[in-house]
Amino acid sequence: MPEINLLEAIRQAIDEMMAQDERIFVFGEDVGRRGGVFRVTEGLIDKYGPMRIIDSPLAESVIVGACVGAAMNDTRPIAEIQFADFIAPAFNQIVQEAARIHYRSNGDWTVPMVIRAPWGGGIHGALYHSQSIEATFAHVPGLKVVAPATPYDAKGLLKSAIEDPNPVLFLEHKKTYRLIKGQVPEHDYRVPIGPADIKRPGEDLSVFAYGLMLHYCLEAAQALAAEGVSVEVVDLRTLRPLDVATIIGSVRRTSKALIVHEDNLTGGFGGEVAALIAEHAFEQLDAPVLRIGGPDVPAMPFAKPLEDAFMPSPQKIAAAMRRLAAY
């Protein structure tokens, strides 16, 4: 199996799906000749032409809104939001429209579309090119939210997302684009939307993460292993619908839980996971449910010392693991 990075995995998924299904098109800022600011769609305009790889106007509400309309007219749009931070002007079209159309039409209309958004920090992106947006959208019934951490998952999940009859928000952590490499089979495969994946089985405590933090958690778990602590690392992968059974199953076995995300702690997605554990694994819990998240500041600053201070690090995660293990 060839080893590729996460960005290439995403490009391959789009390319292979477009080759098979004429209804698929890409719509976003600079996705055409420029190939996207991260080069995800590089080369695709040459293959599929400007009617299927379309440079949109600089307006996120109509990027999503037009894709909603197009999805209802028998096409399969893939919207690209240039940076997840810039999804904010499209909030109305995503939450009030895309996510509610199937329900409000009593199942008559469907909105099969994908919204790709590069998210997360640690790349000198400052307040507006580093944000985590999952908590906001994972709260929305009718929307699916996917946040893969490996090339294999990214490719398999993106294909599933494109085939899904529902709107799917597909979050690509910017820092993992070129940093994270992995083996990806040459044959056509899918990773289903929904199931979490135990990336590292363990016995003493359970850690839940996604995106870049998954890798930091694996790194920390490795360090803890050397200290004789066996950490189970669960990659949530899909945030909505959430794989509650795997989360609860893991904590029932290990009796301890830590949730890690980059987003601000308060009101972050970790709250939901912790609440589920506190309700459904209460009897088995041997320690407080811990969460690590970014600090409660409006977003991640530009200056390196501030960015570093914001980002949860493998060291900080390892420290929480130790606290839990010792509890």
Binding site: V62, Q93, G107
Partner: protein
């Protein structure tokens, strides 16, 4: 350049001359039916049988004129909440309208999930509407974009009020359609109010049609109480769209004959004199006069037509009232589509 069709374009008489009498009578019937249904809804509201009504009254000519220029079963519409007459022309039945009013399980618009007047029917290519105003404008552009990608020749038609033109989605949607010359018709039904806010507090132009040139597309202002004038400008816009020449922005100048909705009381912001004068622009009275004048409809025929319509409204109301409410458990259905 914004064009005021009533200034120097074919008016009622010319357009009417081209249409067969049966079509003209059918247009009139649709207008009368919309009005009769609408009035019935208010009665039901006052009787405590329907918690919410929002009206089409005064907009009938603008909607019927436009919808008659579209091809049923082929063209796609995204009508806003005043679009009762639009959806009737596109094929929705009075009973279906009443099922929505009573929020019945069998309401094809939403199964009783949405407020009345949030029209939808996949079968009729009426795209589901929400309450946040203006969101349908980007959708319309997107339906047109898909049509162009697929190489189809359906036309997309959407409507909204003049207040809604203040929303960013109005701008973004029309701009996209203009850039890609998409086959979309944007009909603004200008009744001079957004609930209580008059047009001059909404925009500093006299006509919404003045905004067409800002997008490089025609902006046409038409007397929206003149069904045939609206038909004519829409017909041309449809031709233009089907030819691949792109979108048109049409302002239909209409009157709002009721309060904003059953939750509103417009006497707090409209003077009795204004309310009075609005009544004089009733598009149905106007078309009736035209038809009589041109011997296309006799007084007796009109009476018979109105009686038929009343019976239809009675039957629709009764059938819809008998229909079952949604089961509580159905609350959880259709959150996600199954593949």
């Amino acid at each position: 350049m914004a064009v005021s069709i009533t200034d120097h374009a074919p008016g009622t008489a010319d357009a009417g001359a081209e249409l067969p009498a049966t079509t003209l009578r059918e247009m009139f019937r649709c207008m009368v039916l919309a009005r009769a249904l609408d009035e019935r809804m208010w009665l039901l509201n006052r009787a405590g049988k329907a918690p919410f009504v929002i009206s089409c009254q005064g907009h009938e000519a603008a909607q019927v004129g436009a919808a008659f220029a579209l091809t049923r079963g082929k063209d796609v519409t995204l009508p806003y909440y005043r679009g009762l007459a639009t959806v009737l022309v596109m094929g929705m039945t009075p009973e279906e309208v009443m099922l929505a009013l009573f929020a019945r399980a069998t309401d094809p618009n939403s199964g009783g999930r949405q407020m009345p007047a949030h029209y939808s029917s996949r079968r009729l290519k009426i795209i589901t509407q929400s309450s946040p105003v203006g969101t349908q404008i980007p959708h319309a552009a997107g339906v047109g974009l898909a049509e162009k990608i697929k190489g189809g020749d359906a036309v997309v038609w959407t409507s909204f009020g003049e207040g809604t033109t203040s929303q960013g989605d109005f701008h973004e949607g029309i701009n996209l359609a203009a850039v890609h010359r998409l086959p979309v018709i944007f009909q603004c039904e200008n009744n001079e109010y957004a609930i209580s806010v008059p047009q001059h507090q909404q925009m500093a132009v006299r006509s919404v049609a003045d905004r067409g040139p800002a997008y490089g597309i025609p902006g046409i202002s038409v007397d929206g109480t003149d069904v045939l004038a609206v038909y004519e400008v829409t017909r041309r816009a449809v031709e233009r769209a089907r030819r691949g020449d792109g979108p048109t922005l049409i302002e239909a100048r209409v009157v709002r004959l009721t309060a904003h909705s059953s939750d509103d009381n417009d006497r707090t912001y409209r003077s009795p004199r204004e309310l009075q004068s609005t009544r004089r622009s009733d598009p149905i009275a106007r078309f009736a006069a035209y038809l009589h004048e041109h011997d296309l409809l006799s007084e007796a025929e009109e009476r018979e037509l109105r009686a038929q319509v009343a019976a239809e409204v009675d039957a629709a109301t009764e059938a819809a009232e008998r229909a079952p409410l949604p089961e509580p458990e159905s609350l959880l259905n259709h959150v996600y589509a199954q593949s």
